[in-house]
């Protein structure tokens, strides 16, 4: 037995020296002699000579001058990769996609072909009828308790707004506590559904949303107020609008534009997705540089086409572009965005 223990320890020691010492050292040496760029993480340099990121790792872009990468479940944090882990059956997935779609979807055919549906969502919302019943916001909270609760928890100002509402509505809260005896002292999130139900009755065609204002002493500040239009209405209520308008003929948005990737750091988008964003990007650069929009558009398109690559030369997949490389090229050509 002791023989087996000593042989086991010996085997372990030799292996550790070999595979934790010599093997990685050899690969490190080969990597740094022959492929130093890749071995350090494929880091790209920006216009001022500073490292701006890794060619292989997605980073966020918010300005309209840049192409945007796929949404990231990891918030583009390259020190904690993550996927959404949402199952197809989970409503949270459909909700996330619908919120991205609302502000950007356009009609495909008919009188309004090419126009955004967003204004129609707002008009429909202000009429405040869903599936023939009044009270869109109340129905939304009833159908999706989880989303209503998530709204309260999303921001401290949201919770504060509900707390103010609680103070103003003692009888409603008292009725709720009577119906839910297990929660004698409800927090704001517990009351999310009943809050939205009352809110909907008192503010038909409105939704609580952040509004930028100027305070008495001239400082900019945000406050939650009932609003009847804006991005919250367009995104949150797009799916319900869609259910009321199942026959509206809409343009499809590229799939990779609204789905998160496996690691949340996918550096590519499909060429189809890039071309979908092309008008926005080109128009913005044209405005920034005060040049002819059609010329800028063809220049940007050329950059896309020159950067498009398909896995295995097209045998196994579709043409992709690397978002950081393309944006870096735009930045080098047109300077800093306004």
């Amino acid at each position: 037995m002791s023989k087996y223990i000593s042989k086991s320890v010996l085997l372990l020691l030799i292996t550790v020296v070999l595979v934790c010492g010599l093997y990685p050292a050899a690969v490190w040496a080969i990597g740094h002699v022959f492929f130093p760029f890749q071995a350090e993480g494929s880091l790209l340099t920006g216009p001022d000579g500073q490292v701006v990121g890794s060619k292989l790792i997605a980073q966020p872009f918010t300005k309209d001058e840049y192409f945007q990468p796929r949404p990231s479940a990891a918030s583009y944090d390259a020190s904690a990769s993550a996927s959404s882990t949402l199952a197809p059956s989970n409503y949270a997935l459909r909700d996330r996609v619908a919120r991205m779609l609302g502000p950007i979807v356009r009609y495909r055919s008919g009188l309004k072909a090419g126009q955004l549906v967003a204004p129609d969502i707002e008009a429909w919302f202000q009429e405040d009828r869903y599936q023939g019943q009044p009270g869109i916001v109340a129905q939304w909270a009833d159908l999706h308790n989880g989303l209503a609760t998530a709204w309260v928890n999303a921001d401290s100002t949201h919770a504060a707004y509900v707390d103010d509402w609680v103070k103003a509505h003692p009888t409603v809260v008292a009725d709720w506590t009577k119906a839910n005896p297990t929660t004698p002292q409800p927090k704001a999130a517990d009351l999310a559904v009943v809050f939205f139900e009352t809110f909907s009755k008192e503010n038909p065609g409105r939704f609580p949303s952040a509004v930028n204002k100027t305070s008495a002493d001239g400082k900019p500040q945000t406050a939650i107020e009932p609003v009847k239009d804006g991005s919250d209405i367009q995104s949150i209520f797009f799916d319900m609008w869609r259910q009321d308008h199942p026959d509206a003929d809409l343009q499809d948005v590229p799939g990779d534009m609204v789905t998160t990737s496996g690691a949340g750091l996918d550096p590519h988008i499909t060429l189809q997705n890039a071309e979908y964003q092309l008008d926005r990007v080109a128009a913005k650069w044209a405005a920034d540089t005060k040049r002819d929009p059609s010329v800028v558009r063809s220049e940007v398109d050329q950059i896309l086409q020159a950067n498009a690559r398909a896995p295995f030369g097209g045998l196994a997949g579709e043409e992709l572009v690397n978002v950081l490389e393309v944006n870096l090229e735009l930045r080098n050509r047109y300077g800093a965005p306004n």
Binding site: I5, K7, V253, F312, A316
Partner: protein, 605 residues
């Protein structure tokens, strides 16, 4: 669409044929290594062993490995290569991680990029990758030697050394160079801080400065080859082979797939060569390939060729009868209205949780292959696969013999072979024989123990966790999919696979983590125990079975002998596997993926 998986399989088969010849030479001791390597062989040799001594050596070595692994992880805060001063993981997580890696399972209840220093990645990861893969390899070799009635079944320590030094290491070195050329980092630094191209796109710091992007790097190019070759599958990063550094291009994805299949393919042929029954081995190989193709085609058909059903239209209203004690008749009808589709172009299939650079069908292909060979690396999020496509990974884990892991898959297949022959023998009223040895009651008992451990270790804990808050509080998707997450975790643990439905809340994190997943400790311990039991019983029982079979007198080949190298035999084997698999696992499949597929979509929220 189909070119990618087909070319992967063809290339691997073409490589496995010559490789199996080389493997046979090494394990039969006919390969003469350079002098210095032979010197180590002599130091390790403790003399010829019988099957019991071989088994005791195997268990002793695993114990030593456990102690070593536990120490490395527990001492992480005091070890070098840890510039971010990462602390110690929770003790239950360390226990789980060590047994998980030691047994070639690599289910991970932590994220490598968040919780491991480079020291732990190297000294824990590399050591476990090489050694755990070799252990299964050696177990199969011992079984083969026992079946051919060798006077000694060899020496465990010499076998281990030969597998590590003469097979894995050279293969790794070649792959590592390809990986670094393609873009996997190879550095001992732990991260880069970069200022993003658009300043403040990551947000701003407290002092008003733009927030940098922190990019974790490490010795990836050396790490990934052995992760794949050894069918280990434990990721350097939380998202494993979906991470752009762990799998930078379509070519590395191709290599990753070939690498994980290479040795499992080769081992089946080595089995045939060492027993001098190559034709029989090819029959087994074909049966395994038949099932593997089935899982790949299934996954691609339902995941790449179909859209994500959560976003599409479901134009017909659905009515469900729901049990309700207060309603008349005890049932209440719930009608879900028709659903209008979202305007999303899904011609590339379900893209949620998929990376683009590997090719359109690469996510589904990888998902099927990684469970078939019990690798457990993932290049897409299995939690987000289309519900019915998810059956493909389940099938791979439940039956665990579509090539299966290093050696262990072939051992599992041997059990099905023995049972198939036994059933066929019963049908024609002859004493069943395998390789000219009569299969007796003792051998059948051992085969059944080894075979039944697996379903018991999946179904019992799944039931326990699904019925209590231990499981319910860990689910992150509602309804049938939450059950699927629990089922997947135990299937993966018991199959020593390592992939996961990542949504399940099983991460405790560092020991001082103020807000761990509420049920993380229960998961660590339960999954760890399942891993240990489902690893060692199904290795040891077949080793004993093979030793008893090998000790019997050979009966000459006669007219009534069931031929084991024919199409009839292959059909018998396929039938045995399908019937046993369906009997054991169809009920849970109905509660999980099938219920999700045919149930209301979308659900909850």
């Amino acid at each position: 669409m189909w070119i990618l998986p087909i070319s992967m399989l063809v290339v691997t088969v073409l490589l496995a044929i010559p490789l199996s010849r080389y493997m046979t030479r090494i394990m039969d001791g006919k390969y003469r290594a350079p002098g210095i390597l032979r010197w180590f062989e002599d130091r390790l040799n403790s003399g010829p062993q019988n099957w019991k001594q071989y088994t005791v050596s195997l268990l002793t070595f695993n114990t030593v490995l456990f102690v070593f692994g536990f120490l490395v992880l527990a001492l992480q805060p005091w070890m070098p290569l840890n510039p971010q001063h990462k602390g110690m993981l929770s003790p239950t997580t360390i226990f789980h991680t060590v047994v998980s890696f030691m047994t070639n399972t690599d289910v991970q209840h932590y994220s490598g990029d968040v919780h491991f220093s480079n020291f732990s990645q190297i000294f824990f990861g590399f050591t476990m990758f090489f050694l755990s893969a070799s252990i299964g390899f050696c177990a199969l070799t011992m079984i083969i030697r026992a079946l051919r009635s060798d006077s000694s079944v060899g020496n465990f320590f010499v076998d281990m050394w030969r597998v590590v030094a003469y097979m894995f290491l050279p293969a790794c070195l070649i792959l590592a160079i390809l990986f670094v050329q393609q873009g996997s980092p190879m550095t001992f630094k732990s991260s880069h801080e970069v200022a993003t191209l658009e300043p403040s796109a990551m947000g701003t710091l407290d002092n008003g400065q733009p927030k940098p992007q922190t990019i974790v790097v490490g010795p990836l190019a050396a790490f990934v080859p052995m992760k794949q070759l050894g069918t280990n599958g434990g990721g350097f990063y939380g998202m494993n082979s979906a991470h752009p550094f762990e799998n930078p291009t379509a070519f590395t994805n191709f290599l990753s797939c070939v690498a994980m299949m290479l040795f499992p393919f080769g081992l089946v042929l080595m089995f045939g060569r060492m027993l001098n029954r190559l034709k029989h081995a090819w029959v087994i190989f074909s049966v395994m390939m038949f099932f593997m193709l089935g899982t790949v085609v299934w996954a691609i058909y339902f995941d790449t060729l179909k859209p994500n059903p959560g976003l599409t239209a479901h134009p017909i209203a659905q009515t469900y009868q729901i049990p309700d004690a207060s309603a008349p008749g005890g049932k209440r009808a719930v009608t879900l209205p028709a659903v209008a589709g979202l305007p999303v172009d899904q011609h590339m299939g379900n893209l949620e949780g998929k990376e683009l650079r590997f090719g359109t069908s690469a996510g589904a292909t990888f998902a099927a292959l990684t469970v078939d060979v019990t690798d457990g690396a993932v290049n897409c999020e299995h939690d987000s696969l289309n519900p019915i496509a998810g059956l493909s990974p389940y099938a791979g884990m439940w039956l665990n013999c579509f090539f299966g892991g290093k050696g262990v898959g072939m051992i599992n297949m041997l059990l099905f072979v023995v049972i198939g022959i036994f059933v066929a023998g019963q049908m024609v009223g002859r004493t069943p024989e395998y390789l000219g040895k009569k299969i007796g009651g003792r051998e059948m008992k051992l085969a059944m123990i080894a075979l039944l451990v697996h379903p018991i270790m999946i179904l019992l804990p799944t039931g326990l966790f699904a019925g209590t808050s231990w499981g319910v509080k860990a689910e992150n998707n509602p309804g049938a999919h939450g059950f699927s997450e629990i089922l997947y975790q135990f299937s993966s643990s018991s199959a020593n696979n390592g992939s996961a439905f990542d949504g399940l809340g099983v991460t405790y994190g560092f020991n001082n983590n103020p807000s761990p997943a509420p049920m993380a400790r229960q998961w660590d311990i339960a999954s760890g125990l399942v891993i240990v039991i489902s690893r060692f019983l199904p290795i040891i029982a077949p080793m004993a079975m093979a030793a008893f079979l090998g000790a019997k007198k050979s009966t000459p080949f006669g007219l009534g002998t069931l031929r084991d190298d024919t199409f009839t035999f292959a059909s018998l084997l396929v039938g045995t596997i399908v019937i046993i698999g369906a009997l054991l696992f169809l009920p849970v499949a109905a509660l999980g993926p099938l219920a999700e597929h045919w149930g209301p979509l979308p659900f909850g929220g």
